[in-house]
């Protein structure tokens, strides 16, 4: 199956009189692991929020898994929401629920399985996300940043979505945890056949696990392709962006 799972056509939005997207279009095929990059304020998060149905664009169409996000009945939207998972930047865990119940919540709400069974499935997801089994009864406030991200990933995977959205999955993690998280995302994407759409600033993520990078600039898609292909695009921001990775062996001072 190589159909298009995300199709964004001519989307425009202005926030507070400031134009964010001007006729932005992109499309993503099933099974791709895509990274969206762009300077601060280039509207990466706004685009993500438009695609997952949290923010309505002023103009344009967004189709997700073959269905329009902004022209559908609430029931259709609910059915659509079951088919994608979102990892928010800081995890967005429900602070009044235990780790296990956080992950089981989508199952409680969207399936008719008994709660005990939902919790067992939640543990499976937590184990797949690489969380220590000792942590399942903890409260989110007792977790470290890396663990919160893993719990949030498990929650995003709870209903076995076809599509996974990740907002800066490695921000706030130390390099070791960040690389481990990258590997985990790639592993899950491959083994579960997920399409992954992630917003990131992390160059190491781009170089390691991404099939295709989409660059956002001045409200449009500046270019898309593998990292090697993007290096040929002559754009000052993009050049600075790839140059920002500190070369190894640089000696400070003299």
């Amino acid at each position: 199956m190589t159909d298009t799972v995300i199709d964004v056509r001519d989307v425009s939005i202005a926030l507070g009189g400031h134009s964010i997207h001007r006729g932005l279009s992109l499309s993503i095929k099933r099974g791709e692991v895509i990274a969206l990059i762009g300077g601060s304020g280039s509207g990466k998060s706004v685009l993500l929020r438009e695609i997952i149905g949290l923010m309505k664009p002023d103009a344009g169409h967004i189709d997700l898994l073959g269905q329009s996000v902004w022209d559908c009945t609430p029931d259709q939207m609910d059915a659509l929401r079951r088919r994608f998972g979102v990892l928010f930047q800081d995890g967005a865990l429900f602070s009044s629920l235990s780790v296990e119940d956080n992950v089981a919540t989508p199952l409680f709400e969207h399936t008719r399985l008994p709660h005990a069974l939902c919790r067992q499935l939640a543990r499976l997801k937590l184990d797949m996300a690489g969380l220590d089994p000792d942590a399942v009864h903890k409260q989110p406030s007792q977790l470290s940043g890396g663990m919160r991200k893993r719990v949030a990933l498990a929650r995003a995977l709870a209903l076995d979505p076809e599509l996974l959205f990740l907002d800066e999955p490695t921000s706030g993690l130390d390099p070791i945890s960040a690389r481990a998280f990258d590997v985990l995302i790639r592993l899950l994407a491959d083994s579960l056949g997920l399409t992954v759409f992630l917003v990131t600033h992390d160059l190491d993520t781009l170089f390691s696990i991404i099939d295709r990078v989409i660059v956002l600039s001045e409200g449009r898609v500046l270019g898309s392709g593998t990292v090697a292909e993007l290096k040929h695009i002559d754009d000052p921001w993009l050049r600075d962006y790839f140059a920002a990775r500190a070369p190894e062996g640089v000696v400070h001072g003299n």
Partner: protein, 364 residues
């Protein structure tokens, strides 16, 4: 999309699954009634996700540690999904859910928490006193701007609600008193009773309750949110004291605002009573005012106003302390804000009772 289906073949002890298997497919599982599944057959499967794979495996071997059944005729991608799930459903390492506490234990914990609050408050007062001592010699370190801003919200913002509440309470109280006094022809004494009740008890207590609900809760929520977003830590790291920057201006603002609000409440309450006595008891406004001038003792007013700063200090201390003891999650802000209001109300009632007994003993 094909519906999930599964049936148990008794001859081979095989569970044959077909269709799309996902989380909603659970009802399609046949009742096995303790029979052992030796073979899991996936020839008819069209789709399988991790939830579906787990359900099938769980049906085939209810105990995670049991040996796996033979997996037969699975397509490679479905086989990979099953392997992934087997790998991640380890039987060990999962502890039972923490023991849920009974009502008695919860009540006991609540009582202990109350005791803890009393000790915590004493500790907080001590630290605040030391901070005040350190600040007393350095007027430049006082946060006058913060004090002014707090006074604005605590005092000016509360005036309309205080006037509204106390006016209505004055009306109600005068009605009740008037209907009793009328029976004895003691109409004019309604003025005496009204003044005593409003000035001495009703206005200070009601205004303190309003301020506890309005400003006390706001202070806890604000300081608590600052704690969650690490603003308090930032203040400390900049070499400033959160007590000097946040707590002392708020305590002083409440200390100034509450007596002023009580005075505003006194006037509103008496005006409400005046309206009713004229309507119900035919006491004209000039008569009412003459009577007030005759019977009003300065000490009645001062007793009411004098209680206000004491209430204010307790409300401010409780609110600030609960704000600073918030832990880093959203629920904690909510529970601490609730706790502020409850503790403040309890403190107001207790202090008021102590004052009442004290004034009687001292013949005031």
């Amino acid at each position: 999309m094909t519906a999930a289906h599964a049936h148990f073949d008794e001859a081979q002890d095989a569970l044959l699954a077909s269709g799309d298997w996902h989380a909603d497919a659970a009802p399609a599982l046949p009742a096995l009634g303790g029979k052992t599944v030796r073979i899991l057959d996936g020839a008819g499967l069209t789709q399988l996700d991790t939830n579906g794979a787990w359900l099938l495996l769980n049906a085939a071997r209810p105990q995670a540690g049991d040996p796996l059944p033979e997996l037969r005729a699975f397509q490679p991608q479905h086989r990979a999904m099953l392997d992934l799930v087997v790998q991640h459903s380890a039987p060990t390492g999962v502890q039972p859910a923490p023991h849920r506490e009974g009502m008695l234990a919860l009540a006991g914990r609540g009582s202990l928490a109350m005791g803890g609050h009393v000790i915590g408050l004493i500790d907080f007062v001590g630290r605040l006193f030391l901070e005040l001592m350190a600040l007393i010699g350095r007027p430049s370190r006082w946060r006058w701007r913060e004090f002014g801003a707090q006074l604005g919200t605590v005092f000016v913002g509360a005036i309309p609600i205080v006037i509204g509440m106390l006016f209505l309470l004055g009306v109600v109280f005068a009605y009740l008193l008037g209907s009793q006094a009328q029976q004895y022809g003691a109409n004019i004494f309604v003025v005496d009773g009204l003044l005593l009740a409003i000035l001495r008890e009703i206005s200070p207590v009601i205004v303190a309750v309003l301020v506890a609900g309005r400003s006390g809760a706001a202070i806890t929520a604000q300081i608590g949110t600052m704690k969650v977003t690490e603003e308090i830590d930032a203040i400390t790291t900049l070499g400033l004291s959160p007590l000097a920057v946040l707590v002392i201006p708020r305590v002083l603002a409440l200390l100034v605002a509450l007596p002023l609000l009580v005075f505003v409440g006194d006037i509103a309450g008496v005006l409400g009573g005046m309206l009713v006595t004229q309507e119900q008891l035919d006491i004209s406004y000039p008569m009412f005012i003459d009577r007030v001038v005759d019977v009003l003792l300065l000490k009645t007013l001062l007793v009411g106003l004098g209680k206000a700063p004491v209430f204010a200090i307790f409300i401010a201390l409780i609110a600030c302390r609960m704000g600073l003891t918030v832990t880093r999650d959203a629920r904690s802000v909510g529970t601490n804000t609730t706790s502020t209001v409850v503790q403040s109300l309890v403190a107001i009632i207790i202090i008021n009772a102590i004052f009442a007994v004290m004034f009687v003993r001292l013949d005031i």
